[in-house]
Each structure stands twice: as C-alpha cells, then as structure tokens.
C-alpha cells in the first residue's frame, strides 16, 4: 500500500503555467450542478470539524443577498499540522483554483485567503500567484469570458492559533481581536461584514477542484461509506520519516501509516495522537484500526486536521501534559471564563505536580472537573477540545502518574 495521489501533486513538476483547466470547465456549468458534484463526492471539511462541503456551499448559495464571501482558511496552527503549508508552497495555483471555483459555486465575487503570518514563504508564493493570476486575467472582471467576476485578497494572520476558528478568523479579517463569535448565527448566514460567508480549509478547496476535474463519483469510490476520498496526513513526532502523505480513507490502519510512511518509530511506541493536540490519544493496542473518521471516533478520538503525532517511550509524561496545556493556555482568546481560567489553572496544577514530583488523586479529580467544565461550557472549539489530550492521558496513564509520588 502506498500513497493514493488524488490531490497531492508531485513537487518536482512545474506548475507555473497552470491556467486553471478545471475552472474553465466549471465556469460553464450551472452553480447547482457544481454543488451537486461536490455533494456526490461526499467531501467533508478537512479543517477539523468535518462538515459536508457540498451542503455548506448549497446553504450559502441559497442565502439571499448578492454580496457573499468565500474565505480560505490557511491559518494552520495546531501543533503537528503542516499539510496546508505543503499545498500552499507547492501547488498554490491549485489552491487558488479551488477558491475561485467555490466562489463561483456559492455566488461570491470576493474571496479571502487567510494565511498564518508565520508562513512567510507560503505568503510570498501565494501573493505571487495572485499577481500572476491577475495578470493572466484569471482573477478580475468577467474571468474567462464568463459573466463571473472574482477578486481575491490575501490576509496575513498575526500569530494567534484561535484565528483558525472560522468566526475568529472573520473577526480578524475585519480588523478586530480574533475572538470567537457566538453561534448561531453561523458564517453562512452572517459572516464577514455581516454577509453570508463560506469558510473552507485549504485542503478542502484543493480537493473540491480536483473532484470537479475527476468527477464526484471517482472521489466517492475512494474511501469508505462514511469517509470518502483521501486525506492528507501530517506525520510527526517520534517517527523516522515524518512528512505529508495522502492516504485513502480505510485503506490503511494507523499503524500502517506510521510503519510504512513514517518507516516506524524512533523508540518504543507509547501512544499516538491521531488528529492533533485537540484530540484524545490512542495507545498501542488501539492502532490497528482503519484510518477513517468513524473508526477513530469509535475508539474515542478524532482525526481532526490530520496531524498524526507519534510519541515513544522515554518522554516525561508530565512534561508532555504541561507542553500541551501551555499551548492551550497561551492560545485561548481569553473571552470565556471556563477556557481562559480553566486552561490557566490546569497548567498551574500540572506545574505544581512537576514541582511536587507527582500527582495526588485530588489533583486528578480537579483537573478532570475543570476539563469537563471547559468541554461543556466553553464558547468555541478551542476550549471544547482543549482538554481532550490531557484528559485522555490522565485516564490512560492514571496509575503511572499517581505512582510517581
């Protein structure tokens, strides 16, 4: 079993003269038909939440009003995730084609791509690509002799993970603090500048374009019933060959991904984070499951953004917990009390535990209570998932953590 290359192109090939063949085809189609094709493919959002893309586009198209926005979410910031950067740096024109197609499908004449500010190289490449597309009149008024006009603007993020959340991202484009908005209303109804807006991940849009080239059916034939198509997996941590690999859903188990693509672990495997630090860990005995949304959900975790982080023996568990806790503490937007105070408190409890040389069962209970509270009461996805990793480590390694004292 190797990679299933559906949207990942060979890096070595030269795409600089790529002139949007898919867009040329799509722009002659009816919007409804474009959306039908995406729906037929079964594509789900690859930004983490997994919302069906065709449905999202359909809802946006149906929203009244002629000012709508398509926003490409390239704020990739979850530790372990780097697939979007891979696409932006290597095949920017394909990403852009996906954005324009989505804009066309939902009836948006203006698009934004929000790239995290630290991606200096990707930003330069993509800005060049926009300039190039403008010169070639692939962006602008009446593109490709159609009556569809489209403008695309690049926004550089300012270094805040929470801006990956679509409502925070919209606030950030508007020039506000990047804090989440209360939903509903969702961006589809009331997004950027109060207008209907679709936010899609880089990978989602790239896949969407490719689906329109190869057909929704082709895509739907890949993968399983509930997880159609392919997924870019970012392999990192204690593996011999980390990197971005395209995997057909259901075709490989997690262990196979680690062994075949990653060429195995650098030490004795302890656990795997299957979807980035906002997902629960899986232990060695849980890895022989097919890589699909449903199978990973079944064992109590999620495939999130596709970041598979492998952790082998030999690391201090408390240090790892503290590392992830610090991430969420630093990155909460600070708006809602459970997330701001909860993550801060958990970090302090972990730090104290390090100083004390270990955990008491009271500490554990406190952290669990706080975790539950953040999960149930936080305002956005950042808080709601912030304790998945920590909670699962505490649960699976209770004895080990308590025994340290």
């Amino acid at each position: 079993m190797g990679e299933t290359l559906f949207l990942k192109r060979k890096v070595s090939e030269d795409y600089s003269h790529y002139d949007f063949p898919i867009l040329k085809k799509v722009i002659k189609m009816r919007r409804e038909d474009v959306i039908a094709e995406i729906k037929a493919s079964g594509l789900k959002g690859r930004g983490g939440a997994g919302f069906p893309t065709g449905l999202k586009w359909e809802l946006a198209l149906k929203e009244p009003g002629d000012e709508k926005y398509i926003i490409c979410n390239a704020d990739e910031g979850e530790p372990g995730t780097f697939k979007d950067r891979f696409l932006l740096e290597n095949t920017p024109l394909q990403v852009m084609e996906g954005i324009i197609i989505a804009g066309y499908a939902i009836g948006a004449n203006k698009g934004y791509i929000y790239i995290r500010g630290e991606y200096a190289k990707a930003i330069n490449i993509f800005q060049d690509a926009i300039n190039h597309a403008k010169e070639e009149k692939l962006i602008g008024d009446s593109i490709l002799d159609s009556d569809f006009s489209f403008d695309l603007q690049l926004v550089k993020g300012g270094g805040a993970y929470v801006c990956g959340d679509e409502t925070s991202l919209i606030n950030s484009i508007e020039g506000n603090r990047g804090i989440s908005r209360i939903t509903p209303p969702y961006p589809i109804q009331n997004g950027l500048y109060g207008k209907p807006s679709v936010v899609n991940n880089v990978e989602t849009l790239t896949a969407a374009a490719e689906i329109l080239a190869q057909g929704g059916k082709t895509y739907a034939n890949l993968g399983t019933d509930k997880s159609k198509g392919t997924k870019l997996v970012c392999l990192s941590g204690d593996v011999k060959e980390p990197g971005v690999y395209e995997v057909e859903f259901g075709a490989m188990t997690l262990r196979e991904i680690i062994d075949e693509f990653g060429k195995g672990t650098t030490g004795e495997l302890k656990f795997v984070i299957p979807g980035g630090v906002s997902t629960a860990i899986l232990t060695d005995d849980q890895l022989d499951i097919p890589y699909t949304y449903e199978d990973i959900a079944n064992v109590g975790s999620g495939l999130g953004s596709g970041a598979v982080v492998v952790v082998s023996e030999g690391h201090d568990l408390l240090e790892l917990l503290q590392n992830v806790s610090r991430f969420f503490m630093d990155e909460t937007c600070g708006t809602c009390f459970p997330c701001r105070e909860g993550n801060r408190r958990v970090y302090h409890l972990l730090k104290e535990a390090v100083n004390k040389g270990g955990f008491t069962s009271d500490d554990m209970k406190l952290i669990k209570d706080i975790g539950k509270t953040i999960y149930l009461a936080a305002r956005c996805g950042l808080g709601q998932t912030s304790m998945c990793f920590i909670g699962s480590v505490l649960e699976k390694y209770t004895d080990e953590l308590l025994a340290r004292r």
């Binding site: 805040a160 209360i182 937007c333 009390f337 459970p338 209570d369 149930l376 009461a377 305002r379 709601q384």
Partner: protein, 570 residues
C-alpha cells in the same frame, strides 16, 4: 410565538427571546454575571449555562434564542456542577486572598460575586488564589482601578463604549495575559476618560471605585481651626436613602441635612441654591447671545463629565459652552467670598465639601482654573459610609432645614438632578423675564423622561426658541454630530450620565434605568412640593444679587461664577 418547555413548564414566548428571558417569563431566574440588560450580549462568563435537550454541550442562556419545541433544564446536576467549577475558577483569579479582601473592598456590602456565591450554593473553593500581581491605577482624580479584582466580564468595557460612546477600556493581550486595561495601560487619568463613573455601576466587583476623599473630610471635621461647610447636590437627596436599604424613590432631604449636622459640619448649604443662581447667570447669558448675535447654540456647563468630553472630542465647540461654572463650583466660590466676608471668617480657614452624585465632580474641583472653590467632593456613597461609620440612625432621624444664606431653593433647582431639568428650569425663568408672563404649563414635559435626545420648541415672545436635551454620552455624541451637520438650536442641555445626575457615577449601587426612573419620579415630586417653582423667585438668590453681586452677568458675577475651557487632544 415559540413553544418552549423550561424545567417542565410549557410556555409560549415571542420569537427571538433568549432562553434567559424565556426562563424569566416562567418565573425562573437563571444566575448571570457578564450579562447586563442594558448592554450587548457578551457570552463570556458562562455562568448562565443550561442543558438543552439533544444538545451535546451546555448552552449560554443569555446568548441563545429559543427554538420551537426546545426543552430546557436549568439546574440539572451537570449544570450545577459546571457553574460551581466556573465560579471556583473565577474566584481563584479574582484577587489574592479574596477571603480577606472582602473586608476592605469597596463593594464589601454589595458585591455581585458574593451574591452569586449564595445563588450557586458555593460552600468550598478548592483552588488556591492566583496572584495576578498587577498594579492599581491611581492616575485619575476621580476613579481608582484595581485590576487584580477584575474578572474580565467586560461590563465596564461595554458600558463605556455602548452607553457612553467613549471606550476607555479594552481587553488587551490573549491567553493568560488577557486583561482589561486602558490604552497601552497608561491609566484612566492620562487619557480621554471623562470621569463619569458609569464603569463603577457596571462592575460586579470592587475593581472600580471612586477615589476616596472621606478621610480628608474627617480630618477637616476634627481640625478645630477649620470651618467646614458642606453642600448637597439635587440628585443626592433622592438616592441617599437607598444606601440604607430603602427602596429607590424616597425623598430624603431633611434627614440628610440632619445627618450632616450630626457629622459636625459647621454649615449645611444647598447646591440647589446655586442651581437657581446658575439659571440666573446662564439665562442672562443665553438672552445676551440671542440678542447680540453670540455663538449659538449655547450648551450647558453643569455636567463635568460632559465638559471633559467636549474638550476631548469636540474642542471646536468650546465657545458654545456657557461660561457659567457648575452649581458646585459657584457655591464653593461664594462660600469663600460672600459667606466668608459676611461672617468674617478668613477664607483659608474654610473647607468646602460637596456631596455629589458624581465622580467627575472630584475632577472638576481640581481643575486649575477653579482650584480652591471646593476642597473635597464626596460621592453619595461616601456620605453614606460616613453616616454608617458614626452609626447615625438616619432613617428615623428628625428632619432639619438647610442653613440660611445659601439654603433656600426653588423647585426649578431640584429638577437639575434629572435629564431635562436644567432646560426646564431655564425656560421657566427665561420665558418670564422676556415676556413678563408665566410659562404656560410650568411643568414643561417635552424635555422630561428618559428618551436619549429630546427636542422642544417654545414660543418666547417673537422668538421660537429651539431647545434640545441629551443624556448619556453616546446620545450626547449623536446630538453633537447633528449640530456639526448643521442642525440649528438655541439652547442645549447636555448631561454625561444616563438619566442625568440622578444616574451619576457616585450614586448608590445599584444604579440602573429602573432605579433612575424611580429617582426621577421623586425629583419631580419634590419640585411640586417647593413653595417657589422658579429660580428667580428664590429669595436668597435675590438677596445675593442685591447685597453682593449686583445683577446677573455683572463684573463681580463674572469673576466669581464664570470660567473657561481647555481643548484637549485624544
């Protein structure tokens, strides 16, 4: 209408109703903290979460609208546990050792956190306090900020921005460093804060309070070489009783005067007296401007929050402001001249204290162009503290009258305390001076009430006098923009605080629109009870002009009772 079930009770509520308000209709009070009826929804504290059937996560009831068929449970075990944990987390970051600080806290007797703790049944805090280690902001003459007590509920941020249209506060930073602060943490006193104190009313904790001057007043009272004179603003008398547990709306004038005498003040004068005087001076100024082609519209000058506001935001209009000092400053100036001379007391020995519904008055008293008129401006709350400290049973005290010379007032003066009052008082006098007749319908209702901007036209002889009234600085800003855009008026009353002085930042807590309305009723009731209803009928004011000032607008009046303004940047 939408059908909902809340805690087993079925009811119909209008579309768009939040779960919180729907529950209220079902007679269930869901606990809240960052929520405030008068402000936008923030949805940050999450204390108000409830369980909604078929929802995986708890829902913030203040922010979520009911849906058809929604089934809500407001106090399941999950909800109760989560609320308690949030509360524990919050308290642990509120201030180092809240346990002790409650004793010294400005809000020791009306803290929202204490109230909430009782509502949630908190009996234990499992978390030790995190010291945020921030320093207090003492940069303002009027307001102190103690950021360690701040819980980031954004109520002050929203009140300053939405009601007052200024926005002196912001949340800065992110994550654990997220704090409420001012521009680059420069401090309220160094920025365009107008000292109105509305943030104090917004704050659930003691993170914001006035700069206390009551210790200085105690010192003066106990200094045998000092002659201490006190004055009380119109709005104080209809609010002070609330600090002693009375319902809003009680007129408390005589008991207040009696208490002040017991506290040891040598003379108790009434700022209402100088309010009447203000009408004489301001009315004369207005007539002069109208008759001599002076700068119009003329803007009132008695609200120091408004004055600082215009100095920052509309400096090009400074010539429009009446040159009259505020009643507080007028009375102070007269105590140290007229009264001092009449009683042969060296003015250096006199200490003038004023009891004001206002925090901005503290700043006003320190303005360099008027220093010395008033030595200490106390808030209504500070007076209540002093009375409590002495243990005066003020509610049952035999009432007493203000002292003579500057103690008499008209009904026109007392309504200064409510929005529209200065305008109405001025009209009563100006109309009569100009036409020789009484204003038809002396109760001039078009300028009364809590509407943000009120307009009226009055035929005064040949002239149709165009008047407008605004209160709450965001309304003031709207009216200023209308003027800037060319709308013409002769006379405009501006008040910084919603409702006017009765809603001032120095008034008892809570002060909200409901409370303000009650105080307003009391103000107009008090007007009716006055023997004189018009400022120029005030016999002591007449006496002052006869004996000392000559006539309104005289050289001496100008020297003592008028001032000038300073443009300030942003």
């Amino acid at each position: 209408m939408i059908n909902v079930t809340i805690d087993g009770q079925k009811l119909q509520v209008p579309e768009g109703t939040t779960i919180l308000n729907a529950a209220k209709m079902a007679h269930i009070k869901i606990p809240t903290l960052c929520y405030s009826e008068e402000l936008s929804i923030y949805g940050g504290c999450r204390i108000c979460v409830v369980e909604v059937e078929n929802e995986r996560l708890l829902q913030p009831s203040c922010a979520v609208a009911v849906k058809e068929g929604m089934v809500v449970k407001t106090h399941t075990p999950k909800v109760r546990e989560v609320r308690k944990t949030i509360f524990e987390l919050m308290i642990a970051s509120h201030d180092l050792g809240c346990k002790l600080n409650c004793l010294t806290c400005s809000r020791g007797d009306n803290c929202d956190l204490q109230r909430l703790a009782q509502e949630l049944g908190i009996r234990e805090i499992r978390l030790n306090a995190l010291d945020k280690n921030m320093s207090n902001d003492y940069s303002s003459y009027s307001i102190v900020r103690e950021p360690n007590k701040c819980i980031s509920c954004h109520r002050c941020v929203r009140r300053c921005e939405e009601i007052q249209g200024i926005g002196i506060f912001t949340k800065a930073n992110r994550g654990p460093a997220a704090v409420i602060t001012t521009f680059k943490n420069k401090g309220m006193g160094n920025l365009e804060c107008v000292n109105c104190g509305q943030c104090i009313h917004a704050c659930p904790t003691g993170a914001l309070h006035e700069v206390y001057h009551y210790e200085n007043v105690w010192d003066a009272l106990h200094d045998p070489t000092k002659h201490v004179v006190v004055q009380t603003a119109p709005a104080v008398r209809v609010a002070l009783a609330e600090a002693f547990g009375e319902k809003p709306g009680r007129i408390f004038t005589e008991q207040m005067v009696a208490a002040l005498k017991r506290l040891g003040f040598d003379k108790v004068f009434d700022t209402d007296f100088s309010a009447d005087l203000t009408i004489m001076e301001e009315g004369t100024e207005l007539l002069g401007r109208i008759q001599n082609g002076g700068t119009l519209p003329m803007l009132t000058s008695c609200s120091p929050g408004w004055i600082k506001f215009i100095e920052h935001f509309y400096p090009e209009f400074l010539d429009n402001i009446s040159s009259c000092k505020s009643p507080q400053q007028m009375l102070g100036a007269l105590v140290k001249s007229y009264y001092a001379e009449k009683n042969n007391i060296p003015k250096e020995d006199i200490v003038v204290v004023s009891i004001m519904p206002c925090t901005a008055k503290k700043y006003e008293a320190r303005r360099p162009e008027m220093t010395g008129d008033v030595d200490y401006a106390l808030t209504t709350r500070e007076l209540a503290m002093m009375i409590k400290e002495v243990g005066i049973d003020v509610l049952n005290l035999e009432g007493e009258d203000y002292d003579k010379l500057m103690g008499s007032s008209s009904g026109a003066a007392v309504i200064f305390g409510a929005t529209g009052g200065v305008m109405e008082a001025a009209l009563r006098t100006v109309y009569e001076i100009l036409t020789g007749e009484e204003l038809p319908g002396i109760d001039f209702t078009p300028v009364r009430g809590i509407e943000g901007i009120k307009e009226a036209e009055v035929k005064v002889g040949d002239l149709t006098l165009k008047a407008a009234v605004a209160h709450g600085l965001s309304n003031v800003r709207r009216l200023m923009n209308m003027i800037r855009d060319g709308k013409e008026y002769h006379f405009i009353e501006m008040m910084a605080c919603p409702g006017g002085c009765i809603g001032g930042g120095g008034q008892p807590i809570p002060t909200d629109m409901e409370v303000v309305k009650k105080r307003m009723e009391a103000i107009y009731e008090s007007d009716l009870a006055h023997g004189y209803r018009k400022s120029h009928e005030n016999p002591e004011v007449q006496q002052l002009y006869d004996e000392y000032l000559g006539k309104p607008g005289s050289h001496k009046a100008h020297k003592l009772l008028h001032t000038h303004y300073t443009p300030r940047g942003l």
